[in-house]
Each structure stands twice: as C-alpha cells, then as structure tokens.
C-alpha cells in the first residue's frame, strides 16, 4: 500500500469536469485507489464520492493506492492535482 499527501494546486479545485478526468485517470489502474480529506475517505474511482468531498484549491488530500500498480497510480494522480492550469 502506498500513501501520499499532496496539496491540490488546480486553480478550480476538483470541480465537476476536473473530477471526471481524475476519476477517468484513476480507473486506468487496477489498484484500489482512495482519496482522503479531513478524515473522510472515498473511492477515487467513483465520481460521486469524489465530488461529495468538494475538494478545493489548496486543500491537502491523501492519495492511497493498494494493488499491483499502486506506485504508478499515486504518482500519476498526484501529478494531476498538482498541475496549475
């Protein structure tokens, strides 16, 4: 299991469209991926769960992955939320 804490740098935070892209990305990996914010943990492959957290710009989240490609999953997803566009 791999865990990584990252700060969300996306200007809009995880609004509907960026959240959908995030979930799409997460679904490419066979590892189970979770996202935790303020002690609430949701499945990163499910868009509704992710959006229910309302992750904003500057929020600190923890990405947790468990499975064969866990390392890659965490790296890719962390890179995505840390983009500043």
């Amino acid at each position: 299991m791999v865990e990584k804490q990252v700060e969300v740098k996306l200007k809009t935070g995880l609004q509907a469209r960026p959240a959908a892209l995030f979930v799409q990305e997460a679904n490419r990996f066979s590892a189970d991926v979770f996202l935790e914010k303020d002690g609430k943990r949701v499945n990163a492959k499910s868009i509704m769960g992710l959006m229910s957290l309302a992750v904003g710009h500057g929020a600190v989240i923890t990405l947790i992955a468990d499975g064969p490609d866990e390392q890659e999953a965490v790296e890719k997803l962390a890179a995505y939320v840390q983009k500043e566009k």
Binding site: N27, R41, N43, K45, S46, I47, M48, M51, S52
Partner: protein
C-alpha cells in the same frame, strides 16, 4: 472539527440564551450529562466539567439555602473553561451569581421550559446520535420493501444501474456511490447521502441524474437503517457461490455485524429482481420463515424414513 457545538443544541431545543454568549461555539465532546447537585454542596473532586450541566428544581432549591459567599464560590467553580454550557430547566430563574460567573468564563447559560428529566433524555438522545461513530462506504443504499439494502462492489460492476432499476420498480434511493454510515445504537447502522450528492445518481453514458426531479419525492429518502449488504462481483468461475442459502455470511461495519450476500454478476442476470427477492427473503427470515432450512429439514426426514413423504 467538533461534531456538536453548544450553538447546535440552542437551535435544536430552542433554548433561551441567558448569558455567556461568547462561549456558544464551545464543542460538546460527550453525550453524558451532569446534574451537579453534589458539586453545589461543595464536593468538586469528581466534577465532570466537560459535560453539559443541567440544573433543575432540586439543585436550584438547594442552592437557595447556601450563604452568599458559598453561592459565589460554587458557581465560580461550576463555570470552567471547558464547560460547554449550563442549562436551567423548567424555566426557573437563573441565579445572579451564575450569570456573573458565566460571563467571566464565557460559559453559555441557557434556559428551557421543559422538565429536567424530559430535557435530559432528549438532550442525551440528540447528543448520542450526533456524536455516534461514523464511516463512509463505497456503495449504493436503497430502501427495498422497507429493508435498507447496501449494494457494494467494485467500480463499474453495476451498482448504480441496479439502483436505477430498483427505483423504477418503486423502491427508494438513499445514497449513490458514497454512503455515510452512523452507528446510532449498539446494533443500528443508519446510512445517508453526503449533502452535496443527495438524490443524485451517476449512470455511465448518461452522467449525473437527479432521481427526485425525475421520479418524484416518493423515489428518494434521506436516511435509512441498513439491514442487509449485497456484494456484487463479476462471476468468477473458480469461486463457489452459495447454492442453498443455509449459511449466513456476515460483514462488519463499525461495530455492527450485518448479513451479507454475494451475488455474481453475469449478462442475463436481472440484478434488480435478485436484490428485490433477497430483500423479501430477508424479511421472511426475520418473520421466522426460512425456506432453505425448512427444505433441508424435510430432506433429512425423507432420507431417514427411507422413502419420500409426499403428504
């Protein structure tokens, strides 16, 4: 983040805020209440300062028998910097010494017209439910024939689609994708949707749809006690699935064990109907009718008798 603050109980129980308004954002960390009768008499060795304090007629009439000096010091010691609040019941008059002490320490003093015992039980109920342990589960919660069914399974296995069909068949959606679960009682788990995604369902290919506006207020509900867990998984030819229904699998959520069924998913299996029947069968079992056990008993009898009995 504290789950309950003094302000919340003021709003919930429509208490009158008498003094110490600065302290209304104090957190309440325990559902226990305290009636500080013995503290009024001067014994503060075990004073549970972190609890909400309740002053009723007994405490206040005893208080009246104290000397002015005692009154001041007792009230001073009652108001600590961690006391979330002091509630005076029955609409009784708040002693001036208490107002004075509470203003100094900014401990909110509130007044209710309710009787002490009644107020105490309602406060306990409210605090217990607010302070109950919670968790979030990836799954869909549907009320099927009055049975709260939590459908779990991997992403993309068809949980939301099953829920959609169940709603079309007249059942009610509680939460899609992310279910917040609260342990209300020793064996009671109550699930609800996170506020932001209430009434919403996500169907791949359609996107996010609103079940309430599409199907009406009768198609949704805000919370539901969870009685049964149904785990959907892709059909694994190597795995043995339950053919008899004699064994009951369990799954533990928070501190409560729930019965769990594992349903394999394969094209051609109508999941909504299976979930419906599972819920009905669950109700039947609770009423004392267990088809699998009855059949098994009949089979054993027949084997023992040596010949089947068709009567």
């Amino acid at each position: 983040m504290p789950k309950v603050r003094t302000k919340d109980i003021i709003e919930q129980f429509q208490l009158e805020l008498v003094s110490g308004a600065e302290g209304i954002y104090r957190p309440i960390t325990t559902s226990d209440l305290s009636r500080p009768g013995i503290e009024m008499a001067g014994y503060f060795a075990y004073y549970p300062a972190e609890r909400l304090q309740l002053l009723g007629r007994t405490e206040l009439s005893f208080y009246e028998t104290l000397t002015p000096e005692e009154k001041r010091s007792r009230m001073e010691r009652l108001c600590t910097d961690i006391t979330p609040g002091i509630v005076v019941s029955r609409g009784l008059e708040v002693p001036p010494e208490l107002i004075e002490a509470s203003e100094r320490q900014s401990v909110p003093v509130m007044r209710s017209t309710m009787k002490t015992t009644r107020l105490s039980s309602r406060l306990t109920n409210y605090l217990e439910s607010k302070l109950a342990p919670t968790t979030a589960v990836h799954g869909v919660l549907v009320d099927v024939y009055g049975v709260g069914v939590l459908i779990t399974g991997k992403s993309g296995v068809g949980k939301s689609e099953t829920a959609l069909e169940l709603v079309k068949r007249g059942h009610r959606l509680v939460a899609d994708d992310c279910v917040e679960i609260r342990q209300e009682d020793e064996d009671t788990l109550v699930g609800s949707a996170p506020e932001l995604i209430e009434h919403l369902l996500e169907i791949r290919g359609l996107g996010i749809i609103n079940m309430m506006t599409l199907f009406g207020a009768g198609a949704v509900r805000t919370h539901k006690r969870i009685s049964l867990v149904i785990d959907l998984e892709l059909w694994d030819p190597e795995k043995q699935y339950d053919r008899l229904g004699l064994e009951e699998e369990k799954v533990k959520i928070l501190d409560t064990e729930l019965p769990k069924l594992t349903i394999p998913v394969r094209p051609g299996r109508n999941l909504a109907v299976i979930v419906e029947v599972a819920a009905m069968n669950f109700r039947l079992k609770r009423m004392g009718v267990n088809a699998a056990e009855e059949f098994s008993a009949r089979l054993s009898d027949a084997i023992e008798d040596g010949a089947p009995d068709y009567e």
